[in-house]
């Protein structure tokens, strides 16, 4: 095939091809055209997003711009990142999700950090839909199988079922690792070193995975199934240990994992970041099948492979460690001072490019016009009402609200003996950093309905919602990572959603004083019928300096419950609330906006009450509204509640409406707590008391045991049908 026809077949546009010719001053040959098509795909090149991602503040982040960034805690760095594996999971849920974990774990490993926790943010179509059920079951099993085998606990996550994800499920996986500050490795290469590939044999799987992830799904997507890689967690576990042992050698300079676009992307980024040249001999790469062409070797996304740059005299040591673990390894090239990225095939030069031409793809500017739907949806009004008794039953059994035990029971969440706060116990998971004797808080969350209705303010809501998860657990938020899941950015509506929400996210991070340490973008999450809500998954890491300071989301018998922060009134904007969707399949109205000063003072008061031993439990009020928060707290504490929750005429709004900036706290010493709240001018409302075996408010009476059963069992019953 002529390269001119080839570039089109590979998804490059005329403009892009022209740009490539301009940059290298000639026509690229066939192999080079393959290289550009992968590196300039959306998945690798971030060509539609790069311009906007520069808005994110990164001050204070450690190893920003590397495979994963982190935050410093004492002499250690907690490295973290979230990544999507949406497209593969849609066609092959088990392997898609499993290899998603494999990929993010390698990113953490490449920094030299031992992975200590996994989290996931999952979005599926309605749970009653058989296709969505199949994807959900497969994804959870994939995560369970892979995460459990490699011995990294899956400690927290979120799952959301909504029609908008019916054709394009989202699977975002976050990994956190710990490394001593002096042991951090970079992906930067220097000249005069040896390049060694360690890990599985390179095969034909996952070729074009990066391009596959850069287009919309349709009825033909199943034909892309060979683009889905197959992972082997056993080899991964061995590779983790071997990599950490190799990185402990002083002579090993840098490390990269083989992710999207495999050997190509890992090696070209090393050369680009290190501003050096690299020569690779592709016939030296250990292969799984015969007859593979150079372009296949470069683009293969076979799993469980790492690339190391080492001092020449240490190459033998690296090969010895690989041999101890029975992992194949080969010396495949060297770094040079030529400034060129060169590939050789049986001694003959097959490609010769400047590394920056590959690493720095074109940057597109997107449309910023506000699309029509925004106003249409904001002006929508909900007219229907439901009796409180019926509404409560529906909310509690809605899979978006109900207990997620069916999921996390399948994940090993205690391996590693670091888990201080387990799934379901608090707003965030807690991982014991025994190296510093503190606890790292971890959360992943999103507010897609709010982002859909108002991308900018919804972006801010998303950040603060995740921060509140940490704060309610007693953690100071430290740093953020994200996975930005959207539809096709070439469409104006999506472009606007993306730009505005990124602006909102960036502003909120500045308001909260947290750097963005790493991130990932996933576009094209749409089918001809449906597009996902704009869904930025937000991962935030926090810290507390002692395990004694952890706060659980459970309320105990005889404690008093108090709502602190904003109170709902008839004028409150509650657009995007779960109950709209769960009871009426409705989405519309204005969303509430965040008040950063109030958020900061709520954080201070929660820590203050905790330190004075006045705080029992704490829950941030989110999906399910005030009722949802009270219900979760008394359920976790295995008690009940007597008091008042309805303060306005619209009962559903009072009970389930979602606004920002509020928590429900419990205390055994109401008078003292009230005094402090008053002195700090924190808005509050006393709600009532915890009473075993009772659930009574505003004239309504429920049997808590019955509601708890419903809450515990609804996903179980749905999945075991």
């Amino acid at each position: 095939m002529q390269t001119i026809e080839l570039y089109k077949a590979l998804g490059l546009t005329d403009f892009e091809y022209e740009e490539i010719r301009k940059r290298i001053g000639r026509e690229p040959n066939e192999l080079e055209t393959y290289l550009f098509s992968a590196m300039w795909s959306e998945h690798c090149g971030y060509k539609h997003s790069r311009k906007y991602l520069s808005l994110f503040p990164s001050g204070g982040a450690v190893s920003h711009g590397e495979n994963a960034g982190g935050v410093r805690i004492g002499d250690h760095v907690v490295v973290f990142k979230v990544e999507s594996h949406n497209h593969p999971s849609a066609v092959e849920p088990f392997q898609g999700a499993a290899t998603g974990i494999g990929g993010i774990v390698r990113d953490i490993l490449a920094i030299g950090a031992r992975p200590v926790a996994l989290l996931d943010s999952l979005k599926f179509g309605k749970i009653t839909d058989n296709f969505s059920k199949h994807i959900f079951d497969g994804v959870v099993q994939g995560i369970s199988h892979y995460g459990n085998c490699i011995g990294v606990p899956t400690v927290a996550g979120e799952v959301n079922f909504d029609e908008s994800y019916g054709d394009s499920p989202l699977v975002n996986v976050m990994c956190a690792g710990v490394v001593h500050k002096d042991k951090i490795r970079s992906a930067r290469a220097e000249s005069g070193k040896i390049v060694i590939a360690v890990g599985s044999h390179t095969g034909r799987d996952g070729i074009h995975g990066a391009s596959f992830a850069s287009k919309e799904l349709n009825e033909n997507s199943k034909e892309d199934r060979p683009s889905v890689q197959v992972g082997d967690p056993f080899i991964k576990k061995v590779l983790i240990e071997a990599t950490l042992e190799i990185l402990a050698l002083d002579e090993v300079q840098s490390c990269q994992d083989f992710g999207a676009a495999g050997l190509l992307s890992s090696s070209s980024e090393m050369a680009f970041k290190g501003e050096c040249g690299i020569d690779l001999h592709l016939d030296k790469v250990h292969l799984r099948e015969e007859g593979m062409q150079p372009w296949e070797i470069m683009l293969s996304e076979s799993q469980e492979r790492m690339l190391f740059i080492v001092e020449p005299e240490a190459a033998g040591k690296v090969l010895d460690i690989a041999a101890k673990y029975d992992i194949p390894a080969s010396i495949i090239g060297k770094t040079t001072d030529s400034g060129r990225y060169r590939l050789f095939w049986h001694g003959e030069k097959a490609a010769d490019l400047p590394p920056e031409s590959l690493a720095e793809s074109v940057k597109y500017t997107l449309n910023e016009q506000e699309p029509e739907y925004i106003n249409q949806f904001r002006n929508k009004k909900l007219e229907e009402t439901t009796a409180v008794e019926i509404a409560i039953g529906k909310i509690i059994s809605n899979p978006n609200f109900a207990s997620k035990k069916w999921i996390y029971r399948q994940y090993d969440h205690t391996v590693g003996t670091r888990t201080v706060l387990k799934p379901g116990e608090a707003g965030a998971a807690g991982i014991w950093l025994h190296e510093e004797n503190g606890v790292v808080g971890l959360t992943i969350d999103s507010s897609p309905r709010q982002v859909f209705l108002n991308p900018y303010e919804g972006g801010r809501v998303s950040i603060w919602e995740a921060c509140r998860n940490l704060i309610s657990g007693g953690f100071e938020p430290m740093g953020m990572t994200n996975c930005l899941n959207y539809g096709n950015p070439e469409k104006d509506e999506v472009a606007y959603q993306f730009i505005k929400s990124v602006e909102g996210l960036a502003r909120a991070c500045k308001e909260a004083g947290i750097p963005v340490v790493s991130g990932n973008v996933s576009f094209y999450n749409e089918s001809p019928q449906r597009r996902v809500y704009p869904t930025p998954s937000i991962g935030i890491v926090g810290y507390m300096d002692s395990p004694d300071k952890a706060v659980k989301s459970s309320f105990k018998p005889d404690e008093t419950l108090i709502l602190i922060g904003k109170d709902i009134d008839n004028n409150s904007n509650i657009g995007g609330s779960l109950y709209h969707r769960a009871l009426y399949d409705f989405i519309g109205g204005e969303i509430d906006t965040v008040d950063p000063q109030l958020e900061e003072s709520l954080k201070q008061i929660i820590f203050n009450l905790r330190d004075q031993k006045l705080l029992g439990g704490c829950i941030d009020v989110s999906e399910g509204g005030l009722f949802g928060a009270v219900f979760e707290g008394i359920k976790n504490g295995n008690t009940g509640f007597v008091g008042s929750l309805i303060n306005i005429s619209d009962k559903e709004k009072a009970l389930f409406g979602e606004i920002t900036g509020r928590y429900v706290i419990s205390t055994k010493e109401f008078e003292k707590t009230q005094e402090i709240l008053r002195s700090k001018q924190i808005p509050y409302r006393k709600l009532g008391y915890c009473r075993d075996n009772k659930l009574e408010f505003d004239g309504y009476t429920f049997d808590p045991a019955q509601l708890y059963y419903l809450y515990d069992r609804s996903i179980d019953l749905e999945m075991n049908e």
């Binding site: 099993q141 369970s144 199988h145 459990n148 085998c149 490699i150 011995g151 082997d232 967690p233 056993f234 080899i235 576990k237 061995v238 101890k324 673990y325 029975d326 996390y408 029971r409 399948q410 994940y411 090993d412 969440h413 205690t414 391996v415 590693g416 003996t417 670091r418 888990t419 201080v420 387990k422 014991w432 025994h434 606890v439 395990p547």
Partner: protein
């Protein structure tokens, strides 16, 4: 806190609870060493741990491939020589059963899913409260054996741990076995995850303290033997 106890922790490719087990042993001041699966002699250790994980990927069946490893061959000699204690946890229990060092086998949980949670266990050994809470985390933890074997286990009083609320379908609610004659303990629950107050549950200490008492008896006996043979100690 320094102890004379020497613990060896066998590490297969795919083992993932080795570091957790080591941290628990170190909490008691025991000297610990990791033993790579190609090791052929285990004589220097007072207790050998087979920790949790997925040895050799658990292909064919959990624990199945590990039995061919040099370290497990050496373990058989270790048991034959009555050198010390053997403790298999989770995948380690599966390996002990596949190796026939303990009777029966462990098969897929009745609900076919991996189960991770804390469970209440009834302990058949002195020095424990009636019920302890240990973490379980396994996909293949359903203990099965034929009638004759189950009768023999009961007759020899080998049932060490029983589930109060059987999560995986194990016969006779068996969660762990203790062959006192050969000093071999195997169990699906993870006592090493229940040692530190920071992670909430410390019931695992009952197990390690029981083991420490037994090992100290053993150490004394060894020293006594050594002494009686005229060696200094």
């Amino acid at each position: 806190m320094k102890s004379d106890i020497k613990a060896g922790i066998i590490v297969f490719p795919g083992t993932n609870c080795d570091i957790d087990t080591q941290r628990a042993c170190k909490f008691y001041g025991w000297q610990t060493e990791f033993i790579w699966h190609d090791e052929k002699n285990l004589d220097k250790y007072d207790v050998i741990f087979l920790p949790g994980g997925f040895s050799y990927g658990d292909y064919i069946r959990a624990g199945r491939l590990a039995k061919f490893s040099p370290a497990v061959m050496a373990l058989k000699d270790y048991v034959k020589a009555k050198r010390g204690f053997v403790v298999g946890i989770c995948n380690g229990f599966q390996v002990l059963c596949e190796t026939k060092l303990l009777p029966g086998i462990l098969s897929t949980n009745t609900n076919t899913k991996f189960i991770c949670e804390e469970v209440d266990l009834c302990v058949n050994h002195e020095g424990f409260p009636d019920t302890v809470k240990f973490a379980i985390a396994h996909g293949e933890g359903r203990y099965i054996a034929d009638e004759a074997v189950l009768e023999e286990i009961a007759a020899k009083d080998m049932i060490f741990l029983r589930y109060n609320d059987n999560p995986n379908g194990s016969a006779l609610d068996i969660a762990g076995l203790y062959d006192k004659a050969n000093r071999i303990i195997g169990m699906m629950p993870h006592p090493e995850r229940g040692v530190f107050t920071e992670t909430g549950n410390t019931d695992g200490r009952y197990f390690f303290e029981m083991l420490e008492r037994e090992l100290n008896k053993n150490l004394c006996a060894c020293k006594y033997t050594a002494c009686s043979q005229g060696e200094e100690y």
